[in-house]
């Protein structure tokens, strides 16, 4: 459904002495995303993974290369067509609080995408919103509150409700579970796995945690310095990683159990 071909993005900046420098944030990236599969993009800060997400969602324009959606070049789409495509492409960001408008109540935050992409009456809208709230396992009382009154985990659930409200074909999660407590993180990931069976959406999960990637997705892309260094389909275990950078990431993972040297 999504085909990325030789995608490049350069930023121009100036160094300390005022000379122009170019930074290759995304460097000749190609991959294919198939329908109803789950993907994870793993990389550390500065690897270009967020830039890549912004290119795919057309928030930023690429310097060169192609993004095709259902065999149609995204850069050749008109404004109207692109707007309707946005309903198919939803994004859940890292910071729940700053993704929600602080001045409007949760109810209206969830309603916004629904109002933008469909025309239903007030009663249907209310039913739909309450249904979504239950789907993300929140009590209906939250609908009357403002974003700052919710915890980080609850805000994240609201962002997910917003994203799934338009039944997207494709959802990008950009570090969507970073910064949460490990217990909350697990609950959100389990919720996403359950929703995926129901929604039949394709997940594209961006994370710096290789264990999060393996928990949520079967297909893993590893990114470093703007390039995809490794692509693995149907991952089974850590030993499927061959690239030395991926192995370094695995080595850096925290142990599950304490080592014997601490036994004192």
């Amino acid at each position: 459904m999504l085909e990325v071909k030789e995608l490049c993005k350069q930023y121009t900046g100036r160094d300390k002495k005022g000379r122009k420098t170019t930074i290759q944030a995304v460097d000749n990236v190609s991959f294919i995303v198939e329908r109803n599969k789950s993907y994870a993009l793993v990389g550390e800060s500065g690897s270009g993974k967020s830039t890549l997400a912004r290119l795919i969602t057309h928030i930023e324009m690429s310097t060169s290369g192609q993004i095709k959606i259902d065999n149609k070049d995204m850069s050749k789409m008109g404004k109207r067509e692109l707007r309707m495509k946005r309903a198919d492409f939803q994004m859940v960001m890292q910071d729940g609080q700053s993704s929600l408008d602080p001045r409007i109540k949760i109810y209206d935050s969830i309603a916004e995408p629904i109002r933008n992409f469909s025309s239903i009456n007030k009663k249907e809208e209310k039913e739909k919103i309450e249904n979504l709230t239950q789907k993300v396992e929140l009590p209906l009382e939250v609908l009357n509150r403002f974003p700052h009154e919710l915890s980080g985990g609850q805000q994240k659930r609201i962002c997910i409700a917003r994203a799934i409200s338009v039944r997207p074909k494709f959802i990008i999660f950009d570090e969507a579970v970073s910064g949460l407590d490990v217990t909350v993180r697990k609950k959100i990931l389990d919720l996403l796995l359950r929703l995926r069976n129901e929604l039949k959406s394709t997940y594209f999960f961006i994370t710096h945690d290789i264990d999060v990637a393996m928990y949520i997705a079967k297909n893993i892309l590893v990114m470093k310095d703007g390039q995809i260094v490794e692509q693995i389909e149907n991952i089974k275990s850590f030993s499927d990683f061959k690239h030395e950078y991926s192995q370094m990431l695995i080595k850096s993972l925290l142990p599950k159990l304490p080592s014997n040297t601490q036994r004192k």
Binding site: E44, S45, G46, S151, G152, G179, D181, V182, T183, V184, R185, K186, L189, H208, D209, I210, D211, V212, M214, Y215, S237, F238, Q247, M248, L249, I250, K251, S252, L253, L254, P255, K256, L257, P258, S259, Q262, R263, K264
Partner: protein, 264 residues
């Protein structure tokens, strides 16, 4: 095993409405040991460590109890006495290195100021000390770093600089509050290895975290906090292999990958 720090019946209440936030917390930090404090957001772990450092605003929090360090109750020391202890004997590494530095001052100057506040050294000597310490932290191009403003450096670099500063004055105890939470896995791994090297010098550490992986990697002793209370404590092996409370078991289960997956 001798105790370096003994916390007895620590209670923190809100001045505003007398609401207790930390309740009857007592624990010891052994000399040269790493104590892990684990709990979720809002469990009171950060407030406990800030109370030890005397960083809580008296207008907002009432702190009662005893914090015994080398025969003195830190909670009863005068402002003047406490200034001599904090930074020198007890130092702290914060969660967010981006906000812990003065954004308007170059790193070199910040290091010199910290050193000169506690030791009778010249500017040049303090500078050289800083350079030496940064080199020990696996940082390259140290003189360039000394001449940089904080915003030009990455989070991982700043965190290593913060640890370097904490170590400069050769404290007896370092409190690290979620010091690696915001870092990439590979940087986290480097910093945690650094903690173990610090321990080898006979310095004690309190590592505050929500991640049992961090505890498994570095801690000797563990206390588990929930809703402002210690609900379980023991050595790292007791907590991992024989957890007593349901809550601890739940926290342990929040690790993502199955048991059979071995971390290389």
């Amino acid at each position: 095993m001798s105790n370096l720090l003994e916390i007895r019946e620590l209670n923190i209440t809100l001045v505003e409405n007398q609401r207790p936030i930390v309740k009857n917390v007592s624990f010891n930090v052994g000399k040269g040991r790493i104590l892990g404090i684990i709990g979720e957001s809002g469990s009171g772990k950060t407030l406990t460590s800030k109370a030890i450092m005397r960083l809580l605003n008296e207008k907002i929090f009432t702190v009662k109890g005893q914090v015994e360090f080398r025969g003195n109750n830190l909670l009863q020391m005068s402002e003047r006495e406490i200034e001599g202890v904090m930074g020198k004997d007890i130092s702290m590494i914060m969660q967010n290195p981006m906000t812990a530095f003065d954004p308007m001052m170059k790193i070199g100057k910040q290091i010199i100021e910290t050193v000169k506040a506690h030791l009778p050294l010249s500017k040049k000597q303090a500078y050289d000390m800083g350079v030496q310490q940064l080199k020990k932290m696996n940082l390259n191009r140290v003189s360039e770093i000394m001449n940089s403003y904080p915003h030009t450096l990455s989070g991982g670099m700043l965190q290593r600089i913060m640890i370097a500063i904490a170590l400069l004055l050769e404290p007896r105890i370092i409190i690290a509050d979620e010091a690696t939470t915001a870092l990439d896995v590979s940087t986290q791994s480097i910093i945690l290895d650094e903690f173990k090297k610090i321990q080898d010098k006979g310095i004690s550490l309190i590592v505050v975290t929500h991640d049992f992986g961090v505890i498994a990697k570095v801690a000797n002793d563990v206390i588990v906090m929930k809703d402002g209370e210690i609900i379980e404590d023991g050595t790292v092996h007791e907590i991992f292999y024989n957890p007593k409370t349901e809550y601890t078991k739940e926290l342990l289960k929040a690790r993502l990958l199955a048991d059979e997956v071995s971390y290389a």
